[in-house]
């Protein structure tokens, strides 16, 4: 993209921006890396617009002034992608936090990007509806951030991902033009499906100011069956599950206890870790169906020799919340994709790695969809703490990512970084993509953002 603008004067930018949004919505941050979670030492102006018009004005000004802008949602989880070029302005979407339109009977909702997942689900649940997304992240993550990263969770087993649910957007382009994509009805093929372009684009193509989703009814009955045993036993159940008629709303194989892996006696710890797997299978069908599914799973559990228990409704919800909560503080998150039938092979490799390195590692695998996550390390760095370089750790984690990427790609899959320190994200390519499509990524970025206004350099392929 373009080179550094020679004389960025933060205080001038601050006063220009305060003319748009008011002084209370603009703030200078001396050490930009604090908010960006990068090594940037130069200051940034942090601005929190009140509405779409202000977003348009800010972006227009940035475009004219050749500022580089990063958008943040909750602003807690920017540690993904490649560290971008030097950023001048950070735009926080927290004030755009309204549910714009909710038509329960049409199963459609339109929201501003700063609405948190928690707030949205509460509004929807009051009318017996839900957005069937359960990403592995804190409840205060914003819808904008989730859409921009295409974050997903166990429920994708039945309901798919953000790309299957988002049906329309309002997007502010990098030159300040407001563009509408899609619509507000559940089926629509008028023109290109432009919505897809922005989902997962990590804020590098446009600022989403309004998002419309199709919804599902909140299941009248929810049930989670828990089978625990060794990884091999769980894999045997998974194979039966994928070829059965059962309807798994979630099917997640998890190894979330880490204390064993810190044991020094490698063989013992590996064995213990291998034995501590849980397969959680949800049923969102009605009660009779859930009972049938539970009985079927019980039979398999008995035959494969795993333990069996189950939870219903609020108990099941609470169990999932707690489970999710137990991995939120990991400093590193890797995401692996591959054939469901290969998860066990990859998981075994991760366990062996944990035993060898003594690193705290938790893993979870959506066994019917073939998406796994590796959570490494304890409490992550707080945004305001400076990056604490630990080259041995960086080296190990980078090594694991590359090994997994190699293995996964041989098996037709992929491995990326969802979250890690700047050091790690600099040491290895977080995305690792190659091939003809990257040429298109560049052409798309150049077409939509020729001046490189939005988070340049941070995305797949260094875009």
């Amino acid at each position: 993209m373009e080179t550094e603008i020679p004389n960025f004067a933060p205080n001038d930018a601050l006063s220009s921006l305060s003319e748009i949004c008011g002084i209370e919505a603009v703030r200078l941050i001396e050490h930009g890396g604090d908010i960006l979670q990068t090594n940037q030492v130069d200051p940034v102006v942090f601005v929190t617009p009140h509405d779409e018009d202000e977003v348009v004005e800010i972006i227009r000004m940035a475009h004219a002034s050749r500022w580089k802008v990063s958008v943040i949602g909750a602003g807690t989880q920017l540690a993904s992608g490649a560290p971008s070029d030097r950023i001048h302005v950070v735009m926080g979407m927290e004030r755009l936090n309204q549910v714009v339109e909710f038509a329960p009977a049409d199963l459609v909702v339109t929201v501003q990007p700063g609405v948190t997942m928690e707030a949205l689900q509460a509004v929807l649940a009051a009318e017996g509806k839900m957005l069937p997304l359960d990403p592995w992240l804190a409840p205060n993550a914003t819808i904008g951030g989730i859409a921009a990263t295409a974050a997903s969770g166990p429920r994708r087993a039945l309901y798919g991902t953000v790309r299957d649910m988002a049906i329309g957007l309002r997007v502010v382009y990098p030159d300040g033009t407001l563009v509408r994509t899609g619509g507000k009805v559940v089926k629509n093929v008028a023109g290109y499906d432009m919505t897809k372009l922005f989902i997962g684009s990590a804020g590098t193509l446009g600022v989403m100011t309004e998002l419309t989703f199709k919804l599902r009814p909140l299941p009248l009955h929810r049930e989670t069956v828990l089978l625990s045993g060794t990884r091999e036993q769980i894999a045997a159940v998974q194979a039966r599950l994928t070829s059965s008629v059962l309807i798994a709303a979630r099917a997640e194989a998890m190894n979330l206890t880490t204390d064993v892996t810190t044991d020094v006696t490698t063989d013992v710890s590996r064995e213990a870790a291998d034995a501590a797997w849980v397969l959680a299978v949800d049923c969102d069908e009605n009660e009779s169906s859930a009972r049938y599914q539970r009985d079927e799973l019980k039979t398999w559990a008995d035959e494969e020799g795993t333990d069996f228990t189950y939870l219903s409704n609020v108990d099941a919800d609470a169990w999932w919340e707690a489970t999710k909560g137990s991995v939120l503080d990991a400093g590193v998150v890797l995401r692996i994709a591959g054939r469901p039938s290969d998860w066990e092979k990859l998981a075994r490799h991760v366990t062996a790695f944990a035993a060898e390195t003594g690193l705290q590692i938790k893993q979870t695998w959506g066994v019917t969809v073939g998406v796994g996550r590796i959570f490494i390390g304890g409490p992550r760095q707080q945004p305001h703490e400076p990056d604490t370089p630990d080259s041995a750790f960086t080296h190990r984690v980078s090594g694991l990512l590359l090994e997994l990427r190699q293995m996964a790609s041989e098996l037709g899959g992929s491995a990326i970084i969802e979250r890690a320190s700047t050091e790690i994200r600099t040491a290895v390519d977080p995305f690792g993509i190659t091939g003809g499509a990257t040429v298109l990524f560049e052409r798309i970025k150049r077409e939509i953002d020729p001046k490189g206004v939005l988070s340049p350099g941070s995305y797949a392929g260094g875009i």
Binding site: R163, L178, T181, Y192, D193, M194, R446
Partner: protein, 518 residues
């Protein structure tokens, strides 16, 4: 319709924005009339795909002059039938080098003119690429060539208990490549989603002949979602030559109910109430009296009462253990909404008769009316009663009967506007009525097309829904993929400057689709 390129107008900043002058110079070009002679073209194509796979004799080209939209036929320069990705790429590369326009074609059942060679394109027909390349039951994936007929995929895997979910009514003839290009829907999309939710990866030949892999077999696309953009792009961004789809295990059990209502309003309320009760049926289809009369005259006679206004076909599927309950709930809700008669199919034969009666409806209308236009607008499902009333008013005012057969569950209307093209002025009137209906759909917050695509037919109606900036953003994406404007130009997105004057003689009839379920 003119042959002018939609690329003619680009935003003024375009040349400054684009670092590559050659590319932007090309994108401003019209699909050029190339100096290459027909003989050179045919010889080159024959070299790539073999003599038997090139059609160029004028009398054999006629059948390729239109698809299911017969209003604006136009002859192709030639038709080429490659048999693999390399051949497609070689054909495209050659045409690109010689600046000859081209377009992909599947079975030609498209209803909006996407496969019509407006600019005398060379048609790249995918019908000879119809193999199921591989299937992985364990991981629920199949890789197909684009010319494989939708229903044939299901037939090939049904023995093992699997199927491919998207089921357009034309599924016995349309191709998966055509489905990808149109983002085709179908009756069971209410629960299972449309084509875009079922295609996970593809091999794609760009308009300059480069072959790329898009999407990923498992997990999420890495980088921008190019596949998402390609699905539904109506053959304007390139050609899919290998498609990886999700396959599903057949549901353990299915129950189908037929519910007859004295009043449309009660049927519409039933649709909302079922979904409000937390049940997402696999399908909810509606037919009005005119459609019932037509299908009862076909081979699939159900014997609908002549004094009811609407019939609903409701299907629930899933685990057998819970299905009785769901079906019971559905019946109960029908009853609460003043159903005259509701019945759950007692046998597979009965269920299949009901479905045939629904799926043959387009064809049946074709037999009772000399001509018809089928529209494809979508509305929020809670607006069904209101919109059906407005359509009835439009019908009344115009004097043209309108039958309604549609996917009620997701609000996807198919008003069939009946007319007689032999009566002077009636075709134009029918077209006006069609456009008015789409206006109503957009006015209540809906869209002009839910599954049939824009093509040539609805290109001007795109303006009902999108503003100039929205359309410019879409054109910019076309430029990224297709800078030379050689691949299927002039469709899908209206060009900024074009005025609405050319909406002459456009209509869709069922004739071309004879023998196809509808």
């Amino acid at each position: 319709m003119t042959t002018e390129s939609t690329q003619g107008q680009t935003p003024p900043t375009k040349t400054q924005r684009d670092a590559q002058p050659t590319q932007s110079a090309q994108s401003d070009a019209q699909p050029t009339q190339s100096a290459t002679s027909q003989m050179e073209l045919v010889a080159a194509m024959q070299r790539i795909v073999g003599a038997k796979n090139v059609i160029y004799e004028p009398h054999r080209l006629h059948v390729f002059s239109c698809d299911g939209y017969v209003a604006e036929p136009s002859l192709p320069r030639a038709v080429v039938m490659p048999t693999n990705t390399d051949e497609v790429a070689a054909v495209v590369r050659w045409l690109h080098q010689h600046k000859i326009p081209f377009l992909p074609r599947g079975a030609g059942t498209g209803l909006s003119g996407g496969a019509i060679p407006l600019n005398g394109e060379v048609i790249i027909s995918l019908v000879k690429m119809k193999k199921l390349l591989s299937v992985d039951f364990e991981n629920l994936r199949a890789v197909v060539q684009p010319g494989l007929v939708n229903l044939n995929l299901t037939k090939l895997i049904t023995g093992e208990g699997y199927y491919y979910a998207p089921d357009p009514s034309s599924q016995s003839v349309c191709t998966i490549g055509g489905n990808l290009a149109e983002n085709a829907g179908g009756s069971h999309c209410l629960k299972y989603g449309v084509t875009t939710n079922h295609i996970v990866a593809a091999k794609f030949v760009l308009p300059d002949g480069e072959v790329i892999d898009v999407g990923s077999g498992f997990g999420d696309p890495i980088g921008y979602d190019i596949l998402g953009l390609i699905v539904g792009s109506e053959g304007t961004l390139g050609i899919a030559t290998e498609i990886t789809v999700r396959i599903l295990k057949k549901p353990q059990a299915v129950k189908t109910a037929l519910a007859m209502f004295d009043r449309v309003e009660d049927a519409s309320n039933t649709v909302s109430a079922i979904i409000g009760a937390g049940i997402i049926p696999a399908a909810i289809e509606m037919m009005d009296q005119l459609a019932m009369q037509a299908v009862d005259k076909s081979n699939y006679h159900v014997g609908y009462p002549t004094d009811i206004e609407a019939v609903l076909l409701i299907e629930v599927d899933g685990l057998a253990a819970g299905l009785e309950e769901d079906a019971g709930r559905v019946v109960e809700i029908c009853e609460q909404n003043h159903v005259r008669m509701v019945k759950v199919a007692g046998s597979e034969a009965e269920r299949s008769l009901w479905w045939s009666s629904r799926k043959m409806a387009f064809g049946a209308i074709g037999r009772v009316s000399p001509d018809y236009i089928v529209q494809d607008g979508v509305i929020p499902r809670t607006k069904l009663t209101e919109v059906l009333q407005r359509i009835a008013d439009i019908s009344c005012e115009s004097g043209l009967p309108i039958a309604n057969v549609f996917h009620a569950g997701d609000g996807n209307l198919h008003p069939l506007i009946c007319y007689d093209s032999r009566i002077p002025g009636e075709t134009e009137k029918a077209m006006r009525v069609g456009s008015e209906v789409l206006r109503v759909c957009v006015d209540v917050g809906g869209t002009i097309t839910g599954e049939h695509g824009v093509g040539i037919e609805k290109v001007e109606e795109m303006r009902y829904q999108f503003g100039e900036a929205d359309l410019a953003a879409q054109l910019a994406m076309r430029d990224v993929f297709n800078p030379g404007a050689l691949c299927n130009a002039g469709k899908l997105i209206p060009s900024p400057a074009r005025c609405v004057e050319v909406k002459q003689a456009r209509w869709t009839t069922g004739r071309n689709a004879a023998g196809v379920e509808g």
